[in-house]
Symmetry: C2
């Protein structure tokens, strides 16, 4: 058979695997989420900063969890032989920027950002390769006031999304306590300690208690499980343990938030949770999580903590720092599940339907006049039947329609029809 | 000599080469630029969309200029053996998205986006490896009304930045005319035509006329230069040439914009410019540029055009499309040069100075009450001398200061001091 001439294959309309296209309806939701984030952070006096997604790969080799650097980053060599990474998290970038100008910056620093972050993962529900994340951080304050502020800002974000106090709880812990039990009381080395923490972080809340027990005993032996379990489930041990000064500090943080909430007539849902640990190595004290109380979705929605050492990786002194990150995918899912997403705004206030080309210039002028008064105005230039043009406005959810034909163009007298009420008014 | 133990080297605080860190002061300018872009696009009824910076590399091999794909993209192989590119421009992504849902979307589509784009270039003033770009596009209208609308939106952006009509001019052309002269009248092949267009695009306005002449003659011979020169500099030839129906259309576009501007009391600075071509192959008709009239900076600030064929690369019919892109680096430079950047907003409305830890809880409550009324409030938790705390507010440009000591915490009576006027008021 004669070969057919090669035909140009059409390009695929699919996005790259694991990332999202944001059509206007999705973008509007994204914008709503970002707006709540921005408004809340700014109400606490936080300033927005930003940076490129590209960072020197070295930065992530220093202090992230191993798994992230070795298996989950997008790292490549550029045309100038530099090893470059698409940032998997914002905190190292932030620490770099603060360290770079620490002599010029006025502390305390309150900064926020909404970066996109990349992880090479197998895409599945709630896991994508690129997501956006609110990052809120306070630098230069060592005291519990900073810890309380950051947690109360996180709480405020939830409230500003319309969450009720019963919908979630805030869990706090000191990340150094678990490390101490494992290393000092159980004599585990650094590597094993890290692995045990990872298992606790990933599994403790996700699987039933007996499965977790089985897993821990299989992997690390009976002693480890029982010691941890004793510390966290035996009330006497807890009482003894929480006389530790770090728990005193946590209790003070909790008290300060409860006190603050009392005044605003909310009951802040906050509790000490000794099993709480987070996936990153850089936390040095407080860790906290906003935890979904829905029995069908027991999981952390987001979290953060204190990381006083991170800036010193870039040379110079430590700078006390506390902050959190909150992802767009998780919160969007949560808002959808709870029915908390608001209706999105129409793309324009007025839609001008034009009968024929002869009226185009008049339609443009009419639009310009309305825009000058602050309205958003779109013109339909298809010259289809007016009924079809009005349908087109309706499909877009645009509330007001103006029809322009030869008569209107001549007289200049225009009527505005509201598509919801059916009412007509002179413009 | 004994080897010294290896010391951990500090990480560099430099960002990746050729990209920018946005500290809050820079981010505020960026935000101002984005806000003007968004407001203007939305006033014409454009809806925001977005997509990932990651795209399948195939997309750019299809229709961009060669140089971009071969030498200037960030392209790499991911862990799943996919060839992936950091988008160098948004239009192919947009065409992909529109093509993917063309049956569901309601045309005409008015869409805008502010993506970041990547080019591997040698960094220099005005050239960075990552920049942001407003993209405005109108799909589904074949007529000059769409061309006029997009140009008048571009014009409006400039006006909303505070530009005066004398500061810039709008140059329009039909991109197919130059192609026709080169291929039909001069018999040049596709490749050479493309190269000549590139030289015209890059050099015509940047170097003196005699240098340009020398360059053209050296590279492509006397005939090419003289034919082009004849068409564009001999008034009789121009008159003859612009009887072409495409020029008729351009004249109509121009007339419609001039007419529109008359009504808004502006003199729209628009002219036909036959030498105008743009760096991309995909333009099929109208091309336009906003050109800086400053004699020391003769260059295009931004531009766009009509690209009716691009969507069909993804299969199916052509979809008429016209749009433009406007970069943040160029416009920021321009705004700075012209003194048009506004003062940026302070990070908070109130700064609360706290004498000692004992008043921290009261300070937090005061802040919460002010936030509940819509104010942005930051607290200084350093417990430094009050004078130093006030200086810190002043450095940040925060206008109002509240000092809280034991007396204020007890009485609940607070005074607000305005740092600009020196005035004090009860809260």
């Amino acid at each position: 058979m004669a070969e057919k001439p090669e035909k140009r294959k059409n390009l695929s309309t699919e996005p790259y695997k694991g990332v999202r296209d944001f059509y206007p309806a999705d973008m509007a939701i994204q914008k709503y989420i970002f707006d709540v984030w921005k408004k809340t952070a700014e109400s606490f006096g936080y300033e927005e900063y930003g940076a490129s997604v590209l960072e020197p790969a070295d930065m992530y080799k220093a202090k992230s969890g191993d798994e992230i650097v070795n298996e989950q980053t997008y790292t490549f060599i550029d045309r100038g032989e530099r090893e470059v990474t698409l940032r998997p998290e914002m905190t190292p970038t932030l620490a770099r920027m603060v360290a770079a100008k620490k002599r010029e910056l006025v502390f305390p620093l309150r900064w926020y950002s909404i970066p996109n972050l990349f992880r090479y993962e197998q895409p599945q529900r709630g896991r994508v390769r690129e997501h956006w994340q609110l990052n809120v951080d306070l630098f230069g304050v060592d005291d519990i006031e900073a810890d309380s502020e950051v947690i109360s800002l996180a709480y405020k974000v939830m409230k500003n999304f319309g969450a009720k106090d019963g919908d979630f709880e805030i869990r706090i812990n000191d990340s150094s306590i678990l490390v101490e039990i494992l290393s000092e009381k159980l004599g585990k080395g650094k590597e094993e300690t890290r692995n045990i923490l990872k298992i606790i972080d990933k599994k403790k809340n996700k699987i039933p208690a007996d499965e977790f027990k089985k897993l821990m005993i299989e992997k690390y032996g009976k002693e480890v499980f029982e010691k941890l379990d004793f510390y966290f489930n035996d009330q006497k041990a807890i009482d003894e343990f929480i006389s530790d000064k770090r728990f005193e500090k946590l209790k003070a943080i909790k008290a300060s938030l409860v006190e603050l909430a009392k005044d605003t007539k909310n009951t802040i849902p906050i509790k000490l949770y000794p099993y709480l640990t987070r996936g990153f190595d850089y936390y040095t004290g407080l860790v906290f999580e906003i935890y979904d109380t829905n029995p069908e979705n027991r999981r952390a929605l987001f979290g953060g903590g204190r990381y006083d050492d991170l800036c010193s990786l870039f040379g110079g002194d430590k700078i006390p720092a506390v902050g959190f990150g909150m992802g767009d995918v998780t919160i969007r899912d949560w808002l959808e599940t709870r029915g908390l997403l608001p209706k999105t705004k129409a793309p324009a206030d007025y839609y001008i339907c034009v009968m024929s080309e002869g009226e185009a210039a008049f339609a443009e002028k009419t639009a310009e006049n309305l825009r000058a008064k602050g309205s958003r105005v779109a013109i339909d230039f298809t010259y289809k039947k007016i009924g079809d043009q009005i349908k087109s406005a309706d499909k877009r959810g645009i509330p007001n329609v103006i029809v322009i034909g030869p008569e209107e163009a001549k007289s200049g007298k225009l009527k505005v029809k509201n598509l919801t009420s059916g009412e007509e008014k002179e413009l």
